[in-house]
């Protein structure tokens, strides 16, 4: 799997590269600023890109804006955003195109490499991965549409938003895979999501959740 990395801190960039190589990824290019990132994305068309929100030259949200621009050019281009902080605002912008293949994680998540590489695979497959911290903030709100969901369904949806598969959710909640898919069907129904390809419905469910 080919990866492009955009990270301005040398230590983290090198660390990420070696971590990914250890896990069998191929690092096509590792850049340290926004314009180079756009160029690298167009040149390599990677399976997934790992992008830091804050990049030179502006040191503002250069990375995020470059990622959004690249996704406008190539819809669904899988991008995992890494940041020292997570914001619901940015999560919403990343999810706004509803094309899937996005992730938004705290840099700390790199510590647990299996979780991190799982997230990378999910994003590369077109899935959606949200940091538990974003999800937790969202859970703090009890918006109207969500009140229709049961406590268990909300838990399932939260884990879905974190980008977990049905079996991972089952494992986490100590229930069977079958029970999870039952919950999912119920969630999709309650959120008025039409029968469709499962991955896309999952994305829409997460979106509904984030935008509510």
């Amino acid at each position: 799997m080919r990866v492009v990395i955009a990270e301005d801190l040398f230590l983290l960039r090198e660390g990420l590269s070696s971590l990914l190589r250890q896990h069998g990824f191929e690092v096509s290019e590792a850049v340290d600023n926004g314009p180079d990132l756009l160029e690298a994305l167009t040149k390599h068309q990677p399976d997934v890109a790992i992008v830091d929100v804050r990049l030179p030259p502006t040191h503002t949200d250069e990375g995020l804006r470059a990622a959004l621009a690249a996704r406008r050019r190539t819809p669904g281009l899988p991008i995992l955003i890494l940041s020292a902080h997570v914001e619901q605002l940015y999560a919403r912008e990343l999810l706004a195109d509803q094309a899937g293949g996005v992730g938004y994680l705290l840099k700390d998540r790199v510590f647990t490499d299996e979780q991190f590489t799982d997230a990378l695979y999910t994003v590369a497959r077109g899935g959606t991965v949200m940091d538990p911290e974003v999800v937790a903030k969202l859970l703090a709100k009890r918006p109207s549409q969500m009140t229709r969901l049961t406590e268990r369904e909300r838990e399932v949806l939260a884990l879905m938003a974190e980008g977990r598969s049905n079996s991972a959710i089952a494992q986490r909640l100590f229930i069977t895979d079958k029970a999870v898919s039952k919950h999912c069907t119920s969630i999709f129904a309650k959120l008025d999501l039409p029968p469709d390809e499962d991955d896309n419905r999952r994305v829409l469910a997460v979106l509904a959740y984030l935008n509510s």
């Binding site: 949200d61 940041s83 903030k137």
Partner: protein, 429 residues
């Protein structure tokens, strides 16, 4: 000789320097009393007038405000003086009209060699011997209409041998008196207006100075309290956790061969501690300078705040550009505090935030944020230390915080800070 020239230059320089403040305020009009004083001194006016004018001039030079007030009074006084004198005594050549001003030109025009002055009081008060003028002028070419009524008369003999009588009247005095009176009267409301404006400005300035002194002290206090908090948080949080990480690593170093199981648990502990240190630092950074604020500016930062607020929030944000960073920060934390209050104390269900910048024709314009909630109301900025702190911080930028919160709600909090917005948002994509 050189010393005399140097002294003269010094004196002239001093005088010009002294005159400068008065000139700046009143233009050359400030020099009128000086001219009047010189004139009166040379031609022997009443001592009272001279003293008056000199005192007025001195005061005017010392305190420009007084100059503004005295100038029209001096003009009115002089005008009255001339009018009264001219009307009562007919004319007062000796006082006001030197030979050179009136009689020489008269003689020149008439081509006379001798002008004899007669006043009503004395049959023949003075005699001026005029040098012969080469051009013979016919009698009566002076326009008589300008000079009228009573006054002095001059007998003359022209070079051609003609002689006659020409009456010099009080016209000059009357005209000058009327002009001075009118000018003085015209100046009075203006100079009094100027005086009032200066006084008002003085009062405003002293009020401003006390406000600035107070807010400066508060700003320094707030800043140092903030620094202490950051230091304490670093010390108790990240620093302590990194210390723990180091200790775990050291213990691990010893155990890694003898007891690999224990070493592994230490590794886990170290990793968890470093993760917590990161979380601590993240919280600290958010408290000092929220990332969205740095990356996107106030509008998006308020939107992010609204998203993080546990109650539904509607937004109406119209900010075309970025305010100066310290202002953005102060307003951001003000909004954060107000939102927290709405949730915590007012038990609100929804909240509306409106942010708008109104540019001004002159000056900076106003940044205004309104936060309206449907909570229980009864908020008093005097009771909550949170809002007091916010108010103080805004005060540093001449900003204000106004709260309308009747019991039962709704609560409306208005934050206003004068500031200019820099160029509109950069959008590279």
């Amino acid at each position: 000789m050189k010393i005399v020239i140097a002294l003269w230059r010094l004196v002239v320089g001093r005088v010009i320097k002294l005159l400068r403040p008065a000139r700046r305020r009143l233009g050359w009009a400030a020099l009128l009393p000086l001219v009047a004083a010189l004139y009166l001194t040379i031609w022997g006016a009443h001592a009272g007038t001279i003293v008056f004018v000199v005192i007025a001039l001195a005061a005017a030079l010392a305190i420009p405000v007084i100059a503004a007030d005295l100038l029209p009074l001096a003009l009115i006084y002089l005008g009255l003086h001339w009018l009264v004198y001219a009307l009562v005594h007919g004319s007062s050549r000796t006082s006001f009209l030197p030979d050179a001003v009136v009689f020489r030109p008269v003689a020149w025009v008439l081509g006379s060699t001798q002008v004899v002055i007669k006043s009503p009081a004395a049959a023949q008060s003075s005699v001026s011997i005029i040098h012969p003028v080469p051009v013979p002028v016919p009698v009566g070419t002076l326009p008589p209409a300008f000079y009228y009524a009573k006054g002095l008369s001059a007998a003359y003999t022209t070079t051609a041998g003609q002689s006659g009588q020409w009456t010099v009247l009080a016209g000059f005095e009357v005209a000058a008196g009327v002009v001075l009176l009118l000018f003085g009267g015209w100046l009075v409301p203006r100079t009094i207006g100027m005086h009032t404006r200066i006084m008002r400005r003085n009062r405003e300035l002293s009020r401003r100075v006390s406000t600035l002194t107070a807010t400066r002290v508060e700003a320094i206090d707030t800043a140092s309290a903030e620094l202490r908090r950051v230091e304490r948080d670093l010390h108790d949080g990240a620093q302590a956790r990194l210390l723990a990480v180091g200790m775990s690593l050291r213990a691990m170093e010893r155990l890694i061969r003898s007891d690999p199981e224990a070493a592994i648990s230490l590794v886990t502990e170290a990793r968890e501690n470093s993760a917590r240190a990161l979380a601590d630092l993240r919280g600290l950074v958010r408290g000092i300078n929220p990332p969205v604020l740095v990356e996107r500016g106030l509008g998006d930062a308020i939107e992010a705040l609204a998203l993080d607020t546990p109650i539904p929030a509607t937004l109406d944000i119209d900010l075309d550009g970025r305010a100066p960073a310290p202002v953005e920060s102060a307003v951001y934390f003000a909004v954060a505090e107000v939102l927290a209050n709405a949730v915590k104390h007012a038990d609100a269900h929804t909240v509306h935030i409106r942010a708008i910048h109104t540019p001004a024709e002159e000056g900076q314009g106003i940044l205004r944020v309104e936060v309206t909630d449907d909570g229980s109301g009864g908020a008093d900025p005097a009771n909550g230390t949170g809002l007091t702190g916010v108010e103080r911080r805004l005060g540093t930028f001449d900003g204000i915080l106004a709260v309308s919160s009747p019991p039962g709600g709704p609560t409306i909090v208005v934050i206003e800070v004068p500031c200019a917005l820099s160029s509109p948002k950069i959008s590279s994509c």
